[in-house]
Amino acid sequence: MSETIRRDPRREWIARNRLHPEHASVLLEMGNAALSEWPGPNGVVRKNPRAVGFIGPNGIKRIDRSGLQQGGQAAATTAAPQDSRRTVTIEDPAFLVAVVPDMTGGRLSGHDKDLLGLARQMADADGEHPGAVVAIVFGEHKAAALGDAGIDRVVHLDDEVYTGFAPEARLAALSAVEREMAPRFWLVPDSQLGGGEQGRRLAVRLGERPATQVWHVEADEHSATGWRCTARGAAGTSDITRHLPRVVLALAECAEPVSETRHAAQPVELNQPLPDVLGRIEDMGEVPVDPASVSLAEAEFILSAGNGVKDWEGYHHAAQVLGAAKGASRVAVDDGFMARDRQVGASGTWVSARVYVAVGISGAIQHLQGIQTCEKVVAINLDERCDMVKRADLAVIGDAGDILAALVARVERYREQQQENRDAA
């Protein structure tokens, strides 16, 4: 292709003439989607001051000089965030804080990262004599970024005795860590994914009385450990404030995850070989369960069907692909399309899902009452004036069957991509 800049006087003229009917499209073409700027004939950037800015939420035109937002278009993608993390290496730690992350699926969960944030806080409390965070990781892990989460040392125990559900073997390993490293604190996520159980086993084995369901930790000079914590008690209805013990089972969001530093995540081996454990619990593997049968009250993602659903097969298929629990309006249940225990609403189940997708449900008041505590409500409906659309955070007007089919296609595409990424990684 020729490097020469070729001029098109007509187009330039159109670009200058605001009143020309093709003005906008020519501008768009010339300016590579930035309406307000385009390269002029001599390579000089030309600006159209009238196209600058956007209409703000109050209907007033605003001009954003940072250059991110232009001509009413969506914010342009910014460059990938620069890596501004500081690299920290703790060579000779004053003490150790041991963390046993859940590592579900071989990755650090949000809960794990919060817990590591807490561990970091405790390790770094005394700037003069920093401690090190040692993570005990069982089984294969795919997280390259252990150091980003604030881990200084990693004890990686990748033996097949630890795969699956092996609390006894893992407990033996943790006891060995205790013997060899004697960490000052043990932090375990108080999760359903195994952390809660493992942490309790560990505490009992170490003879320590742990703090469970901890959600807040702060420094306290009166405490023997230098910290005090607030923990939920009595099934979440009370707060217990106490000195922080050696073993802590903490809830998600107990601290902010590490975001400003990067740590070494240096592998450490245990000196002593681990003893063989005679397990009394044998893991027979996971049993497949239909996500649609998860009880409504527990479900965090519900695809709920009402009178407007005509293609029931499509609906059930969509629920399966999305991995959503199935809900129903009273009418859908009365008409026999759905089982009674699937009914959502004042006279059915009160649900508290994170996302509630109402397909063809107009939103009787009893139904709306039943989804009061749902965080995000999505409505798919033909009638844009119905109450469900008013309640919804996102409402899509159109035929439920078509939209569900498109959604299923989109999600399947997404899954494939993910699979590819995973295979690549």
Partner: protein, 269 residues
Amino acid sequence: MPHNVNTLNDAELSVAVLVSVGRHPLTGRARRADHDARAVEMALSLGDASVQLMHAGDGGEACGDAMRGYLGMGISRVKRINQDPDADVVPALANILRFAAPQLVLTGTRAETGEGSGLVPYLLAETLGWTVVSGLAEIESIEQGVATVLQALPRGKRRRLKVRLPAIATVDSSAPAARQSAFGPARRGELADCACASVTDELQTQWRVQPARKRPKRLKIVKSASARDRFKAAAAKADSGGGQLLNDVTPEQGAEAIFTLLKEEGVLR
């Protein structure tokens, strides 16, 4: 849900259920604790097992009300070990379990009053040297001293485990719901009190206990070099007032919008 549990060994399976005093989350009234009641339900569904209920606590009025709740499920008697209000119940329970020697102990995951740490089953298992397994959803069978159970995992998943007996197993809300507690059996049932020396829980007396505070909602922290971005993130309204309405869009566009929301909320796996 009927369970067809075969007990092949000749000796009758003996199951103990540890029950505690529940507390309604809104009114604070004493009731049977939800998890413990599910444990009782699971024990009752074991067919011909002999089930005994045990409770260690202060035997107050609230305790009586709660125990009637369990009796109403068709239990003839609850063994109640009287303890001081500030006692550690683990020694007393360990004592009685060692004496009663059941093959299987079921209990709720955590209590609805007091510390509610969920440690009791682990402490008992450690003391008695028994197996402990958590989060039972179903007992599939018990044969020759080995129980095959389904353990509940988040999002309705299940894992099958084989557990050597004697064992202590905890039950949470994924187990089948407890049957209705009926007035007649509750009134007839017996509260068999027995005394046991109390060991005071010293540590607990140092704690400060208050009603639970609402946890602050975590803000989305924007790490950005630009002051403008940080300001925008801090000043943005937490919830967009009205919802977004997509009219006259193709199904694909609508689906894309929904997909984006689902992904943002992290409900797609």
